[in-house]
Amino acid sequence: MGLELLNIFILLLLVVTALAALRVRDLITAAAVFGVYSFLMCLLWAEMGAVDVAFTEATVGAGVSTVVLVATIFNLKRKSND
């Protein structure tokens, strides 16, 4: 029966977290919110039946890429102008 309520909820949360990751000035916060975005995406994919993709996103997107982003921002200026 088409889209379900859980999908709709996760999709709307995805939009909210994507906007939040780009709105905040603090780059570390942006990286953390981007990790939240990745986990929501992983949840959506697991719900769609793409378990391998969800596993990859949980390890790569939410794990390593967030760590790498934070490690880089640690060496840069933390505040962003926009």
């Binding site: 029966m1 088409g2 889209l3 379900e4 309520l5 999908n7 709709i8």
Partner: protein
Amino acid sequence: MMSWLTSFQCLASAPTETVGTEGGFLVLQVIGVLLGVMGLLFFLGAAVGLLRFPDFYTRMHAAGKGDTLSTMLMLAGFGLVTMEDLSLGSWLLLIKIMAVVLFVYLTSPTSSHALMRAAFEDDELPLTEDDLRNSKRGKRRKKR
């Protein structure tokens, strides 16, 4: 029209077939669902504490403890609900879930400890009596 709007109607009319009708033990499932509901309650408490507490340390206190306990409770409840029969497969699944519970028990307090220590070494000051007195007298102060 096949659309997601119909799922709202599904919410309004509760599904007739409930858990426990086919396969599984009713007692285990009831206990599992109760554990899950308790976990959700603790999660709600953690979220409210995270929003309402005044400074970083009390917030982390709420988040760390409530998060750990509720995750463990919900995972345990999930493990009980999935015990459909006493076959080898379901026991293995239960053991795996219990391993996850063990690791949440190990790592979640450690992570909140690391966050606390980072905040302490970054000279984040806890809320003191004076702050409370000032906030009672004057306008409500946020942390620092």
